[in-house]
């Protein structure tokens, strides 16, 4: 028996293995992963399922589902194929979700990191700005931004990002405020590392896990916001998006409910998958110290 401290434990499995072990403990998160994979698969295979323009007239208008195998999920008021709309819509929804989230996270990280790291008047000014943004109801701000620039999908996506950055900014700030006093930050400063490097190379990677988890929330909210815009007839009609499909489908909700219900279910499942994914990420990235 030895007390020698220098003996090194056998190496741990690689990080992704550990990650996966923790992730799969949460069964609901596994469901989320399956759903998410399904949505991604739909987005990827949209061009294979239906190589044409999803907005073209594909059959008799308002054909119910399971009647014509050319259009298995039926057609909408203008004879557009619901199935291909759902598949192409997955692309748009994922695109909106991912890009809007990136925009929100990037803005949030920069503002939150600066405020949390430097503190003092920088923090005061940035937090006042954040509060200002938080005070304006974000959907009202979104409507205003869309009113300014019109309903182009690119702009809608960016605008959703712009109205979503405050929460990640606050989270990043809180993380930075707690991390900046951690000894490893002192250690880096003590080595003469510059502020920029400390912020982005030392602290940020450690501040990311909760942000990554929250990103799933923003993704979910982005898709819901796009659909709410479409409900108010402010979506971009040049693309098949689930929001647009519901927005138009609700006109025939009573006579041809599938037009709105099918994309509605697609949204629910996608948003659900993001949320469950977030729960799983939370378990995997922020393991609670169990004794």
């Amino acid at each position: 028996m030895t007390l020698a401290d220098t003996e090194i434990a056998p190496p741990e499995p690689p990080r992704y293995v550990m990650f996966w072990r923790r992730y799969k403990r949460n069964r609901a998160a596994l469901l989320g992963l399956v759903l998410f994979a399904l949505v991604v698969l739909m987005a990827l295979s949209a061009g294979i399922i239906d190589p044409g323009d999803p907005l073209r007239r594909a059959g008799e208008p308002l054909t119910p589902p399971f009647v014509n195998w050319e259009t298995p999920l039926g057609t909408d008021q203008l004879g557009r194929d619901v199935l291909s709309g759902v598949f192409y819509g997955a692309r748009i929804s994922l695109l909106i979700g991912v890009v809007a989230t990136l925009v929100a996270i990037v803005i949030g990280v920069v503002i939150g990191a600066l405020a949390g790291y430097f503190g003092g008047w920088v923090d005061d000014v940035l937090m006042r700005i954040t509060e200002a943004f938080q005070t304006i109801p974000n959907f009202v701000l979104l409507l205003t931004l869309v009113a300014i620039m019109g309903s182009k999908i690119e702009w809608i996506t960016v605008a959703i990002g712009i109205v979503s950055w405050t929460a990640p900014a606050r989270m990043v700030r809180a993380e930075f405020m707690s991390l900046r006093h951690r000894e490893f930050v002192d250690a880096a400063r003590n080595l003469g590392v510059s502020n920029t490097s400390i912020i982005f190379r030392e602290i940020l990677p450690n501040a990311m896990p909760p942000i990554v988890v929250y990103a799933s929330v923003i993704m979910a909210l982005s898709i819901l916001m796009e659909s709410a815009l479409a409900f108010l007839a402010l979506g971009d009609p040049n693309y098949a998006s689930w929001g647009n499909m519901i927005g138009q489908g609700r006109a025939v909700l009573r006579s041809a409910p599938y037009c709105a219900v099918i994309p509605g279910i697609a949204i629910i499942l996608t948003v659900l998958s993001f949320s469950l994914l977030g729960e799983g990420l939370n378990d995997a990235l922020n393991p609670r110290q169990k004794k």
């Binding site: 700005i129 005070t135 979104l142 205003t144 609700r250 659900l272 469950l276 729960e279």
Partner: protein, 329 residues
């Protein structure tokens, strides 16, 4: 601040002073933002009327001062605002303050009821889920909560309306009261409650998941703390642990969220108010944007700012009540 006043007052005053630059920032920002949007309220009015001739349009624009440079308009507005004059709504042909006051009641009722239901239900369900973490019950509660959360609010609202108003005929389709029924007293209250049930349900089901998730995480965290172990070592049963030891500490982060949530809910209520024809601030804000009703929108944002300041203040007080570590003096 050398004045001797109760700490709560001086705290309130301090919060107010802190809020002023934020409010000014918000007001100027909103003003300029809306000015960036193409068209003005005259365009919107003329569009609503189904058209008008050029002279009429020019006259209206001069009448509303919209022919002035933006900076002049902004300056005039801010000067008026300094004396709490919100100006005139050209869309409603009423002072903005009147327009706002008419809507405020509905909004506050809707928000108070849906937030409190979401809050209470979220807390209870979140606590249950946390105590049975990773069990079937937990999965059921969590997934169900998330399904509601994932449902677009208009979708949920339309479904509720379809079931409860059209098919079952139990609840009124929309509005805040039965028109021309002239109820008084408790009948009136009951009437309003009936009108609020569905919109409240739609809104609260969505926000419920927020609180549920937060509460679940919070309870799981607090349940691991040392003092809970202490209480267990004293011989307390699980139920008592929850009610006497875990709950209050677990509530702290949830209460913080409550304060931040107000504006979000106001934005989220736009769609619900539109569907249920509730004359609330959310719908008014939406209408003000698409009608470029500058003064009304500015009024709403100002009101929002005030409410957010007040709600945050109350949250702080509540927080202080809940957390004995925070000193009141």
């Amino acid at each position: 601040m050398t004045l001797h006043m109760p700490p709560i007052l001086s705290y309130a005053l301090r919060r107010l002073v802190q809020a002023i630059p934020v409010v000014i920032l918000i007001m100027i920002g909103t003003f300029l933002l809306l000015k960036l949007a193409p068209g003005d309220t005259v365009d919107a009015l003329v569009g609503d009327m189904g058209g008008a001739d050029a002279a009429f349009i020019a006259r209206l624009r001069a009448e509303y001062g919209l022919d002035q440079p933006v900076w002049v308009q902004l300056w005039r507005y801010m000067v008026k605002l300094a004396s709490f004059d919100f100006g005139w709504s050209f869309v409603y042909e009423q002072p903005v303050s009147t327009v706002l006051m008419e809507r405020l009641g509905t909004t506050l009722m809707l928000m108070a009821s849906s937030l409190s239901i979401a809050f209470v239900a979220g807390i209870v369900l979140g606590a249950i889920a946390a105590r049975r973490a990773y069990s079937a019950t937990d999965n059921l509660i969590s997934v169900l909560g998330l399904v509601f959360y994932a449902t677009p609010s208009f979708f949920l609202s339309l479904m509720l309306m379809l079931v409860f108003s059209v098919k079952l005929g139990w609840l009124p389709v929309g509005g805040i009261k039965t028109i021309a029924a002239f109820y008084t007293g408790w009948d009136h209250v009951w009437d309003v409650v009936r009108h609020l049930i569905m919109p409240t349900a739609a809104l609260s089901l969505i926000y419920l998941a927020f609180y549920l998730r937060l509460m679940r995480a919070s309870v799981m965290e607090v349940a691991d703390l040392d003092y809970v172990r202490t209480a267990r070592a004293k011989g307390a049963r699980e139920g008592r642990l929850m009610t006497h030891h875990i709950m209050r500490n677990a509530l702290l982060p949830v209460v913080t969220l409550l304060g931040l949530q107000f504006s979000t809910v106001l934005g989220g209520s736009i769609v619900v108010e539109t569907i249920f024809t509730l004359p609330g601030l959310g719908q008014l804000a939406y209408q003000s944007v698409v009608q470029r009703d500058m003064n009304t929108l500015m009024g709403i944002i100002f009101l929002c700012a005030i409410i957010v300041v007040v709600v945050n203040f109350l949250t702080d007080l509540l927080y202080a009540r809940l957390d004995s570590r925070i000193e009141l003096a």
